[in-house]
């Protein structure tokens, strides 16, 4: 570790300042205290663990599907159960794993650390968003185990999911799951934007923001602008089903394509919401393990932003088969191909960084190399589906299933496992075993390709998506059996990863503050970070704060350390602008989440629950915002008004 820049802001045991901060920032203890926690590292860790559990659950569902599809006309499960399972797999992976893990979990934990803040903006909202998310997930699985699992696909197209063809409550459950996850994602999006805009360490001007933070803030903006699409779509669906509105009823002026437009307005950016965090993880890992500043920082930032914009011009390419006018077909084809340009730019910059750097091949780097190998194939098949005529052949076939698994697993899950290997020491203070890590990497890489590559061919050979079985004479049996075998390897690989984590937690090697000699601020504090993150708020002198730190890099002093005070800086140049206080831990966000959950679930069964259920929510929110006397008194005497 001789190489890693030792940070001037590392807390030391027994330091009186450290003890003072610890006293102020310590999370409440005890069973009830658990529900009061508001620190971003606590909530972030919970997000990660929860999302990973959902990842495992959805993975097991995938296994059941592979089992059913391993034999033609198999009767291992009927269509009714199969439809629930593939819908659950898709919805859980998208709404309970991918977005919460890639965006919420990682940004909640790392963005404040990387911008040198002591907590995320709006910590109580942050806690609320987590509880809402986890309760939504629990609700979904409760319904699934009571045979009320959604069975209309993760996209729930009307009219199949509509009032006339979706009896029972299954589609309503899906619509409300969306509501849960979208609210939590939107909350985190706002927190991340504000944290990055206002809570950056002095000196971290726009052109010095770490790429990871850039990516997460662009993702946050995409969430803010994309989610309303699915909010409106799922609300209309729920209204059609429960209160007899007519949005999607062609007989009285409703329209089934309206749903698809709204859904894909969200659904396509969704892919980039999952993928952009992946790319910036890659950027972070490549920087550290190539031992040089990233090549083409500006180009990469602009590419990420461009991706964020173009992603909103693609939604119709999910609807080429619906008979939309050729004019708009052409436009969306062009846009869909255009998005390859910023992505290509990033890939070239990464390759350039690696080629011109000194590459240290640790497991995080291996996962990144796997990312290149797999994701680029996904990007390439993306061109096939962007071209209208070809898309008309492969759309809704297993070719597309292969395509988006290459994109999402390649573009998100490979970087994610890299991120686990890379940041696990920071989060837990323990190193993971490189040996086991390599095993699970190679098993995953091989298993993944065995599982998903044959799907390209299966699709071209006429296997549609979402079929619970296929005919023996269609020449698909062998392909499907190969795929099912691949699943076993994937399963073992993930299992070995869990073993690795478990062993490391039990008696893993202690992690130093900066095991990889990284340059961003999260490495400036101890592993795991203390409850106050940094003993002194750092200042920044370059893109890689620790690598570029001046010999005597100043630290921030003069904050009132008797409260959870924080520093706000200007958006562009990050000059100090003012101070403010984080709210203290409290149980109210949890209670508000409970009230919200009751309201959401109630509305599935009785529309009136919305109005009645709003009352307890209002009460909890008011209690949440109501200030205590002593806080008010303390602040009043030190109020210093902004000059206007």
């Amino acid at each position: 570790m001789s190489t890693s820049t030792v940070s001037p802001i590392l807390p030391e045991a027994g330091d009186p300042k450290a003890q003072q901060l610890e006293a102020i920032w310590r999370e409440p203890s005890g069973f009830i205290g658990w529900f009061k926690a508001v620190h971003h590292t606590t909530i972030g860790k919970r997000y990660m663990v929860t999302a990973f559990i959902f990842f495992l659950a959805a993975g097991i569902l995938a296994g059941l599907m592979r089992l059913q599809l391993a034999f033609p006309e198999a009767h291992i499960m009927g269509p009714d159960l199969y439809n629930q399972i593939f819908t659950m797999h898709g919805s859980v992976m998208m709404f309970l794993f991918a977005v919460p893990m890639m965006f919420e979990a990682l940004s909640v934990y790392f963005v404040p650390l990387m911008v040198g803040a002591r907590n995320i903006a709006f910590p109580r909202l942050n806690a609320y968003s987590y509880y809402l998310y986890v309760m939504g997930g629990i609700m979904l699985f409760c319904f699934f185990f009571t045979n009320t699992g959604p069975d209309r696909g993760w996209f729930a197209y009307v009219p199949l999911s509509g009032p006339d063809y979706g009896p029972g409550k299954r589609a309503d459950v899906w619509a409300q799951l969306i509501t849960f996850t979208e609210v939590s994602a939107l909350a985190v999006a706002v927190e991340v934007v504000v944290t990055v805009f206002k809570l950056r360490a002095p000196g971290m001007s726009l052109n010095r923001i770490p790429l990871f933070v850039w990516g997460q803030v662009v993702t946050a903006f995409m969430v803010i602008f994309a989610m309303p699409g699915v909010v409106v779509a799922s609300t209309m669906l729920l209204l059609d089903r429960t209160t007899s509105t007519q949005f999607f009823n062609p007989a009285v002026g409703g329209d089934v394509l309206l749903y698809q437009h709204l859904f894909w307005w969200f659904g396509h950016p969704e892919v980039y919401i999952i993928f952009i965090p992946g790319t910036v993880i890659v950027s972070s890992i490549i920087t550290t393990f190539s031992r040089r500043h990233i090549f083409g920082y500006l180009a990469i930032v602009l590419s990420v932003i461009a991706t964020g914009f173009i992603a909103f011009g693609l939604w119709v390419h999910h609807m080429f088969a619906t008979g939309i006018p050729q004019m708009s077909e052409s436009f969306f084809t062009a846009a869909s191909m255009m998005i390859a340009i910023p992505t290509g730019t990033q890939i070239f910059c990464w390759v350039a960084t690696i080629v011109t750097g000194k590459v240290v091949l640790k497991t995080p780097m291996w996962w990144v190399l796997g990312f290149f190998f797999v994701f680029i194939i996904g990007g390439m098949t993306g061109i096939f589906v962007a071209a209208v005529p070809v898309d008309l052949q492969v759309h809704d076939t297993y070719f597309v299933v292969a395509h988006f698994h290459y994109v999402l697993i390649g573009g998100a899950v490979f970087p994610l496992f890299g991120a686990f290997m890379y940041w696990f020491p920071k989060i837990t203070g323990r190193m993971l075993s490189e040996k086991l890590g390599m095993w699970s990497f190679w098993l995953f890489l091989i298993g993944f390709n065995i599982t998903f590559f044959p799907m390209h061919i299966a699709g071209l050979r006429g296997m549609p998506r979402r079929v619970y079985t296929y005919g023996p004479g269609m020449g698909l049996t062998l392909l499907n059996q190969i795929e099912s075998c691949g699943y076993i390897l994937l399963f073992i690989s993930v299992f070995m990863f869990l073993i690795n984590v478990w062993m490391s937690l039990r008696n893993g090697e202690r992690a130093p503050a900066n095991p990889w000699g990284g340059g961003t601020l999260e490495w400036a504090t101890s592993s795991p970070p203390p409850s106050y993150n940094f003993l002194y708020l750092p200042t920044v002198n370059g893109r890689e704060a620790l690598w570029d730190a001046a010999p005597n890099q100043p630290v921030v002093v003069g904050l009132h350390e008797d409260a959870r005070t924080f520093l706000t800086t200007r958006i562009i140049d990050a000059e100090p602008e003012g101070t403010d206080e984080f709210p203290a831990p409290t149980i109210w966000p949890f209670l508000a989440a409970v009230a919200t959950t009751v309201m959401f679930i109630g509305s599935i069964f009785r529309p009136v629950a919305v109005s009645i259920g709003a009352i307890p929510i209002a009460i909890t929110l008011i209690a949440w915002f109501w200030p205590t006397r002593q806080e008010a008194a303390r602040r009043r005497e030190r109020d210093k008004w902004q000059k206007t």
């Binding site: 009927g78 009714d80 409760c142 319904f143 185990f145 009571t146 045979n147 009320t148 009219p159 509509g162 009032p163 006339d164 063809y165 009896p167 029972g168 409550k169 299954r170 059609d240 089903r241 429960t242 209160t243 007899s244 007519q246 999607f248 009823n249 062609p250 007989a251 009285v252 069964f605 009785r606």
Partner: protein
């Protein structure tokens, strides 16, 4: 702590029962359900007399899927032709509290199977028992006899009436105490 577990598990149990019954989907009704002899009514059914065990009915009236099927069959078998969407026409309305030949499931069953004077044809042999029961369940939902989380939502057609799930319960005069109501009060 143990008390928490107890409460949680009991809630889960309730959910399971409710959920499974409501969402249960029987595709293959089995030989008895599929038979078209339409039970014993062919020989002796008198209005008001219970000819079938209520269970045979409740297994359909508790399943949103079965009631939905009933709704589909209602138009597929052209009940709409005479009864319209419950408003009545050539045949009597089905969405009110007036039931000429009785509102009990078994009575509706035999009305469908045997037909009634002045126009209602007999579907004996033409509709399998289980589909008749599905029709019965649906017909009862038209006057709000079924819980709103089982009764169908609006259909993708011109709205001619409230969605069954939004129809308020009519109280047929001949129903003092009968199984469905006990279920509702449960």
């Amino acid at each position: 702590m143990r008390r928490h577990l107890l409460i949680l598990s009991s809630i889960a149990a309730v959910l399971t029962v409710a959920g499974c019954k409501r969402e249960h989907r029987v595709f293959d009704p089995g030989a008895t359900g599929a038979q078209v002899a339409n039970g014993v009514q062919l020989t002796d059914v008198h209005v008001g007399q219970v000819a079938h065990p209520p269970s045979a009915y409740s297994q359909y009236s508790d399943s949103a899927y079965a009631v939905g099927e009933g709704k589909r069959l209602y138009s597929a078998y052209n009940c709409v032709g005479c009864h319209a969407n419950g408003g009545g026409g050539i045949g009597p309305p089905l969405m009110d509290a007036v039931w000429i030949y009785g509102s009990k499931p078994e009575q509706i069953f035999s009305t469908i199977v045997q037909g009634r004077p002045n126009g209602m044809p007999s579907f004996a042999g033409k509709i399998p028992d289980y589909q008749v029961w599905e029709l019965v369940a649906y017909v009862r939902s038209m006057s709000g006899q079924l819980p709103s989380d089982i009764a169908p939502s609006r259909s993708d057609t011109m709205p001619t009436r409230n969605a069954e799930q939004a129809t308020k319960k009519e109280h047929p005069s001949d129903e003092y105490q009968q199984p469905v109501q006990q279920e509702k009060s449960r």
